[in-house]
Amino acid sequence: MTTIDQVRAARSIRSPEVFVVRPGTAGRHLGDWLANGAIAAVFGVLVLLPLGLVLIQTIMPALFDPVNPRMTLDAGALARAFGEPRLLGAIFNSLLLAGGVCVLATSLGAAYAFAMHRTNMPLRGFFVSVPWLVFLTPAYLKGLAWGLLMSPGGYLTQAGVLPDWLSTAFFGPAGLVFIHTFSLFPLPFFVIGGALAGLGSEFEDAARLSGASLGQAWLRINLPLLAPAFALCAIAVFAEVLSDFGLASTIARTSGFGLLTYSIYVAASAYPVDFALAGSQSLVLLLLVLALVLADRLLRRQMTARLISGRSRPARVYGLGHWRWLVAAGCLLVALLALVLPLGAIAVRSVCRTLSAGPAPGNLTLEFLRQALTFNNPSNEALLRSFGFASITALVAAAAAVLLSLRLDRASGVMRPAVLAISLGTVAVPGIVLGFGYILVWNRLPVFRDWPLPHYGDASLLVTGYIGTALPYCLVIILAAVGQLAPNLTDAARLHGAGWTRRVLRIVLPLVAMSVITAFLFTFIRTMFELPMSELLVPVRGPAAPSVIIHLFGKDDDGPGSALSLLAMLLVGAASATIWVSSALPGGEPKLSTSMTSSPTSASW
């Protein structure tokens, strides 16, 4: 959801002057039919078929019965999802939590964006990187880290800064709202930050010249212009919380606060699996998220009177005087709560023998880190394996997204909206559901289970699953960039005799390079920490790092689990930073004019 909405937000402020001429006869050609068929096949196999096999069990619960598979219709599970108080409570709790977080995270993200873009507060170079680092830390690690910090015997209690009542209160809805808010504020920061950059100051200046006060200019001019971005953020955050599994399975579960995604996990992690219930609850979740998407579309259609253009406009930076230090202190507090404390807890735990003894001299050890760095150690093998899988996934998903984007950008009819709708749906569905779908497709369906590559039980299927979950994100990032290219660029090249491959390599790719690199890094980082696929499609040759991390924490081996998490984050951080820096260095890939530090997708729009 996140990236998709960033894309749409960025599009909401981009210039209307850019237009694309779509060849009207393209769809009639055989080649077009084949290309459309290939796109449909890719999405059908990677997304629709696995998802469909889980969802259809909502009404055909015995479809994969191990003893007597049959296609008997029975909608009992759907009735259960809405009829049982516990399940109904989970839906209600999810909506309640999402509602609270969407208001707070949007407010915090907007305030942070304003501080970064429109004030002269100090250390902006440091603070602007905080949302990125928060955004890239997986939710389950944040949940585990806050567990280490806030439990009654945790680090903050040991440090004497956490009263008992606060510890007790934290493991409830309040704590969940807190963690989600500080986890998700980067999303509004990216979107509203991009909108603020596009807004500039000229409307505000015009209002001031007409006699409006600063407050009036913001209330009457700027905020209404920014309203679509705010609405988009609220919807995106709401959907993120609804579909979150990381905190639902850690903090929410131990808080006794049942959530929809955890109910799906409970239904799906048992023998026998209650596929019917898991499917029906997934359907509820999917419908809720799609309703949000629809609401977003309707909302944006009504807000057609936009005055914001995509041209870069100078923005007024307010001098805050001494207050700028107070603003910096506020941002520092955000950085502390959102990043430093959770990552610090993981780092400290990775060098402590036991949790209860804390970071005391006699309790310190480098053993866990040494194990995770030792070749042939299971943690080390899992780390290297994940690094390789993530690299391949990012490479393939980004390349596939480029090819699909080129095709979709010129596609007519329903293909483009259909693919985008599928992408949105995929992002909304919990990974565990898609993971089960992959098992059903690749281990139970007669044709698929005999395919040599990918094959169930091999790493090839795990990487295919990673690609299936990453492709929608990559596609939306790159499609939006490709959509910005004026067709006369490639038309001119064609008139000069450049073939398709040359046009793509020499014209298209250099112009969308930043988006491709963004998609690559986004996929790389997500894949390193992707949990459900890693667990359900674990290769027989050895697991990926996320399932080892969860396995260790589940056994109460927090120390080795934290050490592996820490090393994984350091590895990902170093690799990503280097790829990004090397691509931006002179002699690296071509740069576009906009810096990525303001928004992950802004470079392309």
Binding site: L355, A390, P539
Partner: protein, 342 residues
């Protein structure tokens, strides 16, 4: 900077090469043994077995028992393992009923040199072959409960000292927990057993743990005073110096065998049989105690094998009626989920 960039580029290239190697590696060959394991000592025993026999073992351990069971359920009639090694007889009986497993050959069972407890754990259905035993006992944090207030029976827990302050695992996600709940119903009767849980587990925060790790953490650092944990996990914690005590209630505790089941579709029956034989032999049993995680603190069921020091073995076991537990499994799990899971 260029040095860092160069080094990291090389690291990325190495990672890619590693990933490609992982992808292109030949799938598990027909001779390799695939074992789905949810017991801590699975890897140790597998390594010892490989060293002794030269037969390659691919050990599959998803994140937790819940994920493993979900994976097996999704594989359904096309199981991809040769052997599955988990705690709890009821789950394995159910898999046999679903024809996911095949009965263990009688000749193989006959090779086990079981002690008296072991002999009672061998199921008539031959759904699995037991390799060790543990149980779910009452675990108490001795810093929070004085010695004179320690419970001696399940009934002793129904006091204000423990009501709402006793933790339990979700049987939907934990095989041992289902075995425990089925055992309580067997000892107390289903109605009384349900009444017992309803009176005791009044806080959903502490009655739906997915794993023993979470429950132990809540006992050590949270508000809980007692919990229903696997005794082996408590012994492991006690050995690490944690203030816990294991209490075997006077009503008796349900025996929780760790058992190996054989896939109905295994193509490696011979290697699978060798592995089972190894696990029940001297070397396999030694490997099963060669570690300090939970399951290594098992109670042996093979003659001549001693338990780790300090681990009780003279326990009043209740042996689960697998047929009843299997038949009621879905109903009891749902009842628990509806009443005690957040």
């Amino acid at each position: 900077m260029s040095l860092v960039v160069g080094l990291t580029r090389r690291a990325v290239a190495a990672g890619l090469a590693f990933g490609l190697a992982g992808l292109s590696a030949a799938p598990a060959s027909a001779g390799d043994l695939v074992i789905y394991s949810a017991v801590d000592f699975g890897g140790t025993v597998a390594k010892a077995f490989e060293a002794k026999t030269g037969i390659k073992v691919n050990l599959v351990e998803p994140g937790g028992t819940g994920e493993l069971l979900g994976k097996i359920a999704a594989e359904g009639s096309n199981p991809q393992f040769d052997l599955v090694w988990v705690d709890g007889s009821a789950i394995l009986e159910r898999m046999l009923g679903d024809k996911v497993l095949q009965p263990i050959p009688s000749a193989l069972i006959a090779k086990g040199d079981y002690n008296d407890v072991g002999k009672k754990l061998v199921p008539a259905s031959r759904a699995f072959i037991p390799t060790s035993v543990s149980t779910t006992s009452i675990t108490v944090n001795t810093k929070k409960v004085p010695a004179d207030k320690l419970p001696k029976s399940f009934a002793d827990l129904l006091t204000p000292d423990f009501i709402g302050l006793t933790g339990s695992k979700d049987p939907n996600l934990s095989g041992p927990s289902f075995q425990f709940i089925a055992g309580i119903f067997q000892v107390m009767g289903e109605d009384n057993g349900k009444d017992f849980f309803k009176k005791l587990l009044t806080d959903k925060k502490s009655s739906g743990f997915a794993s023993g790790g979470g429950l132990n953490k809540a006992l050590l650092t949270g508000d809980l005073k007692a919990g229903f944990s696997q005794d082996s996990s408590t012994y492991a914690k006690i050995d690490k110096g944690e203030p816990l005590a294991v209490i075997y209630p006077s009503e008796g505790v349900v025996a929780l065998p760790a058992g190996i089941g054989m896939s109905a579709k295994t193509g490696n029956a011979e290697a699978a049989a060798k592995f089972i034989e190894f696990a029940l032999g001297k070397d396999g049993q030694a490997a099963m105690q060669d570690g300090d995680d939970t399951d290594y603190y098992l109670a042996p069921i093979v003659n001549g094998v001693a338990a780790k020091k300090g681990r009780a073995t003279d326990i009043k076991y209740v042996y689960l009626d697998g047929a009843t537990a299997g038949a009621k499994e879905a109903e009891w799990k749902k009842w628990y989920k509806d009443n005690f899971v957040p």
